[in-house]
Symmetry: C2
Subunit: 592 residues, 2 copies
Amino acid sequence: MPVFKAPLRDMRFVLDDVFQAEQLWARLPALSEHVSRDVVDAILEEAAKINENLIFPLNRSGDEEGAQFNAGEVTTPKGFKEAFREYGDGGWIGLGADPRWGGAGMPKMVTVMTEEILFAANPSFALYPLLGIGAALAMAHHAGDELNERYLPKIYSGEWSGTMCLTEPHAGTDLGIIKTKAVPEADGSYSITGTKIFITGGEHDLASNIVHLVLAKLPDAPAGSKGISLFLVPKFLVNEDGSVGERNPVSAGNIEHKMGIKASATCVMNFDGAKGWLVGEINQGLAAMFVMMNYERLSMGLQGIGASEVAYQNAAQYAKDRMQGRSGTGAKQPEKAADSILVHPDVRRMLLNVRAHNEAGRCFAMYVSKYLDLAKYSEDEAEKAAAADRVALMTPVAKAFLTDKAFEACVEAQQVFGGHGFIREWGMEQLVRDTRIAQIYEGTNGVQAMDLVGRKLVRNRGAYVYEYLDEVRALIAQTQSTPELATFAKATADAVERIAEVTAWITDAAARNADEVNAAAVDFLHAFGLLTYAHMWLMMAQASVDKNDGFYQDKLVVARFFFSRMLPQLYSRVDSINAGSDVLMELQPASF
Amino acid sequence: MPVFKAPLRDMRFVLDDVFQAEQLWARLPALSEHVSRDVVDAILEEAAKINENLIFPLNRSGDEEGAQFNAGEVTTPKGFKEAFREYGDGGWIGLGADPRWGGAGMPKMVTVMTEEILFAANPSFALYPLLGIGAALAMAHHAGDELNERYLPKIYSGEWSGTMCLTEPHAGTDLGIIKTKAVPEADGSYSITGTKIFITGGEHDLASNIVHLVLAKLPDAPAGSKGISLFLVPKFLVNEDGSVGERNPVSAGNIEHKMGIKASATCVMNFDGAKGWLVGEINQGLAAMFVMMNYERLSMGLQGIGASEVAYQNAAQYAKDRMQGRSGTGAKQPEKAADSILVHPDVRRMLLNVRAHNEAGRCFAMYVSKYLDLAKYSEDEAEKAAAADRVALMTPVAKAFLTDKAFEACVEAQQVFGGHGFIREWGMEQLVRDTRIAQIYEGTNGVQAMDLVGRKLVRNRGAYVYEYLDEVRALIAQTQSTPELATFAKATADAVERIAEVTAWITDAAARNADEVNAAAVDFLHAFGLLTYAHMWLMMAQASVDKNDGFYQDKLVVARFFFSRMLPQLYSRVDSINAGSDVLMELQPASF
């Protein structure tokens, strides 16, 4: 059975040494009164406890049992109901929510850590509260006080839960062609009819009501994505006094049988003239939903980091325990029949690949969170706007690059186990299966890359990228004369210039041929992601260089590994981009 | 449900246009009489039929049902028994075997294709006959006529099956520390006692007897790998008349619950004073077993290619059928609500990644097979010896590079399906799960890389590599002045020189520090693998350039994709190697 300890030491390093979070909180009036290092430390300790002791132990059994469907009802695996109750009662669902609706008002720089711990412990379980948080967030922005007062406190307490209903059998990425209909009723509500698929937590036994946010089209709506509205459709109608009333005609037709996250119920949802209420403006549903989706996209990155953290912890332990073969440079444990496999450079290479990604990814998630908090809480309008731009640039990177690297990391950690990695009881193969979905849902990683290169890069002729590169250049200038940091700074500087060149190349190429955007997308996302990791490692090294403690010295060792053995992949990605789109478009459709 | 058509057109291209197999067969006396293009064509047609119609349809159901264990007995999924019988009766198990033991004597260049088709159809099923073939091969080389006459014809007919029993709970890669004991008996047999794990097909209901080849140690054997002997241990003892007699005390204690290949029974085998017979010489067991393992290592590469061929066929079809979004350059199917996703360059990039690997990998497997056949059948001693060296160099590449790329390919093809790729019924996630094992078993891919760089490269100071590079240089010289091939030849030449440099670098570095071998291993395997793919694509392009048919012109298109968008990865691999082992060895064990 796998083990998991929340990486609190590393989280505190990122929070304190790299980002000096307390100084940031102190200067933001919306946070300064209730957010302090002591409060946050207590939250982290409690998050570690509930996740390590209550939620993580349900991860393997949840995979074996899976969510079960029977005649419209979904049964979650043993222990999920009690754990969800305790999680809700502990205030975890509302940790980052507005105190007005019962939340604790913690910044993203805090919830980014508790979410990573939750995803590490049990990604299937994590999705139940997470979807509620996402739905509540979209509502808080768009639903108006009457709906919010009625629904949000119960979602944040875990009494009720939430979903997002976007995808239809014929329409996933392309929501413009959805068919679900919303017909206005005399009482101001709408009658919703249609079928949605891939609805996470669409039906389950964890909460007494489920609040669906549903994309649908009015009868006279314009074609395409400009004709989509968002509706709130509860499983049970809510009485005037806030109690649960009669059943609304919305039900699960089935659940999917999946590769992983088997304890998460992925439902086919049938809306059969269900009563719904408009959220936000008519035909502005996509924009309202995107509030939720951007939030969830960073969360998917955290799912990745959480999984690869567990993968690392177990693979490192296995490598230390497993006695096989001898070191190439002579026996290291001559008193035993074999050395531990940690003597083999290739085993270390695999472990360091995973670790260099985990630590950079965790730092990067905090980096994005810092800008999310500035975009929300800063009182300096210029700082706020710049932060929002940085979030816009980095959200697809946080979703796609972190999950692509996390999947690779889980596969690599599984490989450390040899044959045992393929056996279910060790838990490594579950990490691989569960993490695979993070590359797919909430917009596939290809769609994220298209968002990055199309909307964020080409549409403003590289401005977001160039602003970011200036930030990295400033750090390079600060670090390049420190002897221990000079080679890292130089490697980062080379990467910055290569990204600057290819950003210009893509901008020009796209102006000549729109296909160049999508042809470059995934390779650019990976090249750019590697640059952000270089940036994070340079920051982490800077924060460690003058400290003698072994923890900090290890950061410099892993940084050396990253810069010399991982960063070079950036250059082959750029070479692929420079090959352009023609080699992709040449083959006739019939030849595929 | 996924579909599969055996890629006969592409196989014939490799056989005829690239390798002119018939000319080769004609000049080898051992093959010239019974192997012709007509015979081989008939075999390919029949292989396509039985695999597409009988064995492939059992792949999804076999995954859902799995092999079942109950009180020492293993039940295979519905249909496996009948299919195994038909497969055996059709002569498929003995296709490449010596006619003396009932085989058809077909060269490896033929069985490489039928095995790919079988693995594509159903990898779990494939392992049952395959292990028998491997065991029989080791026996044919080492067991002597008496044992062979008794056992081989029944293995080749599928009446009985075979296993290889190497791994023990504490000993996988490092077989020198196995504990299974063999005690000589008065009648010349041995009494075998011990526990073996991960025994593919150790118990099942497909055959009336199971012949285990077991590694064990005599009481007075030297320590380590020099003290290992090989024994034949049948499930049922065989009577003088060849009929099945009393049960031998060898039994399955359990089967493993695995990530994939769930219909293949992976058994814990308990030998409790079971009667066994020595195969080969005392203490020479590893050498005898390696005959079998080298054979199986190429087969694992074929498992990879088979899976990624199925992945490609289904992903390409899905991409053509799925209507989502619009081309960046304007609607291509304006009469419909959306274009097919094949208009998106990134979807094509994924498909072409898979296809460029499949076609190069298939060609490479044939290339290795050609040398296997020359090493076995050539009557020119120099040619025979050179071919054996080439096989030695390429076997780890065929096992590890083909399966690493195949796993990536299956993941990429799954990604084309978006959310549907994660759903079991589409079959794509099964391809990912089933293919993952090919990177692990028969020696992990890390162990293969160590074999390549340690035994094959460093031990003879690069000679095998340099001889191979000369072969590639000769092809470059032949092709570089042909206008359509010049850029391919130039890219291949650059790759050759880079591999030559890094081969010299590794040889020198290893002389100073033995850890450099393992530190370079996996990156070198991938860089070298990419060079072999470049070599294959240059050969395939040369074979296609003067032909007008669309099939051949498509080869040139995919070649352009390979050289411009995949080959550049070679350079970042070399950069990682040049970073050396220090960055891997620096971290203290306690810091992992």
